[in-house]
Symmetry: C2
Subunit: 374 residues, 2 copies
């Protein structure tokens, strides 16, 4: 029987259509930054429940050993709405439902937020491959660089490109001056989305943007992603400077010269990039990370002690990792292959301090004799 | 009788010529930064005594009241080679000879280094006018903005332009990430010279450059000078943020948005400027000043107390001045005349916090609603 009440039918039908088209969000990663971004996204989807499904799923790795009967991180988050291991004291909204099953979290998601350490990406992609919606897209918050080999020639590759190739979905990036605890607390900050298609970029802006978490979108995704990755190397240099008792002027010079090495790196590998160093992912993220980030902290402690890096990390980060040292190694290897290490003395010296080949004097000389002064 | 020994005569003659052409240096200003730059220049002229005369004269204002029989600052520096009032604990080289007479210091100088607060420039220029060598040139280390009136229209003017008009000599600028104490200690840092003629710029680079004080030269002098002036306003915003207990992400956003307001200001008033924000005078000086400078310190104390600004300055700076508040006022007046205050919410809010018209909320809103997010 046809509906007699046109308004009711129209709205009902419209609601159904709207219900079908609402996007489901999955967060892949339950660490410090993943938990902070859950605080943001849990709220934005509820405030826009005509666009997004209000339940956000969040995959957290179950790192318990066999026989361990304590609750998993996912169980703890669902019971307490807090991640006491990686983001203690901050409330994760109750519409964020955590799970230890990667497929359960992701298979019906329209948007995947990937926020795991670089090292975890290959296994996650291999588990997800072939198990996602055809119309899904992703955004990577992961920092690092990758590489690919073609006819024995090793080429730079972005982590977002790794993800796209592995999953067959478009992958944007979100980077910015975002210390996780401050973001979770709802304090004002900014971030940059680097996207391939502006359609996905604008949808991601809707998902992340709040009055206190201000998002700008650019299609210069290579520079956005590399700024996010390379700033961790510069932050290690800043941490060394702090540990060695150097001063404000030196640290500012490190940040400036580090930004210029970042720019040169992007220009070398992605000459068509139009650069966005004045965005939050550029100069702002670099400053935050060089003053308040974990890479700075680890590097400062490393250069002041005789302990190996993994011990310093264990003591300071309680299970989280610092991406600066492995990124410095990956970048150094890429610079060596392309025979351009001498153009990047800070990146090079940071790597060599971690391997023990460089000391204080070499780092100092990498500044004083920087090619920028030629 | 003609000289029988050609080599001797030639060399003797050459020596004489060289002796005549050696440049005499005068430093105008005996404050914190003037004393620190005396530490640098005192050494560089000695190391290059074929180019520069080894005696540097340094004018220090005699601020004693009538009847005060304590030694003047100039007398103290000449007796102890230290400026205990403004740069205690650092040795000023003994070839720097201080004097309370401006004319004695400057009238035979080839290069004048002007390093006094903005407020002191008019009187100094009026005393020096007509009393300098015809071939002299100057370099200003003074931070601030000026204005000029033509047919009742008020126009922006640089302080270096004020100096050029008043003295009839070319005036370059030197700006950079240079906390004075660290420069005096010989710690590594960088600076930028903005010059009109590269000939004078390169001569100034010889005068200031050392293995630890690295100078780069550009002809983009408007941007260099304005970066040096406007960073003090941004540093006040950073100080307010510190005083209000805001966090790293916010402070990085302030620095980034402040840099963008600086860029916009330069583009508005000097559209032909080719911009040098990646130089030390740009991003590096901004970071140093927002973390370690006196404007940050004064602003932090001001917003945490009920005391008027001049009391806070007296308590913290011991007779030195903070250029941020007067520069914020001068800039605000210029923005009002040109009806563009709304494009510069941070500059505007900093001024209005000092006048009591704005509080914490307005500053916060100047960030969250910044036109950069439009």
């Amino acid at each position: 029987m046809p509906c007699q009440n046109f308004d009711y039918c129209f709205n009902n039908n419209s609601d159904e259509l709207r219900g079908d088209s609402r996007k489901k969000i999955a967060i892949v990663g339950g660490g410090n930054w993943g938990s902070a971004i859950a605080c943001v996204v849990g709220k934005t989807v509820k405030a826009q429940d005509d666009v997004f499904q209000p339940i956000v799923s969040m995959w957290c790795r179950d790192s318990r050993k066999f026989g361990d009967t304590t609750p998993s991180i996912a169980e703890t988050i669902n019971a307490t709405h807090e991640n006491p291991k990686y983001l203690p004291g901050r409330r994760i909204p109750s519409n964020v439902i955590a799970t230890s099953s990667l497929l359960d979290a992701c298979e019906s998601a329209h948007i995947l937020i990937l926020v795991v350490p670089h090292q975890g990406i290959p296994q996650i992609c291999s588990e997800l491959r072939g198990n996602l919606r055809d119309d899904a897209h992703a955004v990577s918050l992961t920092k690092g660089i990758s590489s690919t080999s073609e006819n024995d020639v090793i080429r730079m590759q972005l982590i977002s490109e790794d993800i796209e190739k592995a999953l067959g979905v478009e992958c944007s990036v979100l980077m910015g001056a975002n210390l996780a605890g401050e973001v979770a607390d709802g304090k004002f900050c900014e971030a940059t989305i680097g996207c391939k298609s502006l359609e996905n970029g604008e949808e991601l802006k809707m998902l992340f943007n709040t009055p206190n978490f201000r998002i700008r979108v650019t299609t210069d995704y290579e520079a956005v992603e590399l700024c996010g990755a390379l700033k961790n190397i510069v932050a290690c240099a800043a941490g060394f400077a702090d540990g060695l008792g150097w001063a404000y002027n030196v640290k500012s010079a490190i940040i400036r010269l580090g930004l210029l090495e970042t720019k040169k790196f992007v220009e070398h590998f992605y000459p068509s990039s139009h650069h966005t160093y004045f965005e939050s992912c550029g100069v702002a993220d670099l400053i935050t990370t060089c003053y308040g980030g974990r890479n700075r902290k680890v590097a400062e402690a490393f250069i002041k002690s005789d302990k190996p890096l993994h011990i310093v990390e264990q003591e300071l980060l309680k299970g989280q990792s610092a991406q600066g040292p492995p990124t410095a190694q990956d970048v150094f290897e890429m610079l060596e292959i392309h025979e351009i290490t001498e153009k990047f003395p800070i990146f090079t010296s940071v790597h060599k301090i971690f391997t023990g080949e460089h000391g204080e004097q070499e780092l100092y000389d990498s500044l004083r004799n920087h090619p920028e002064y030629d």
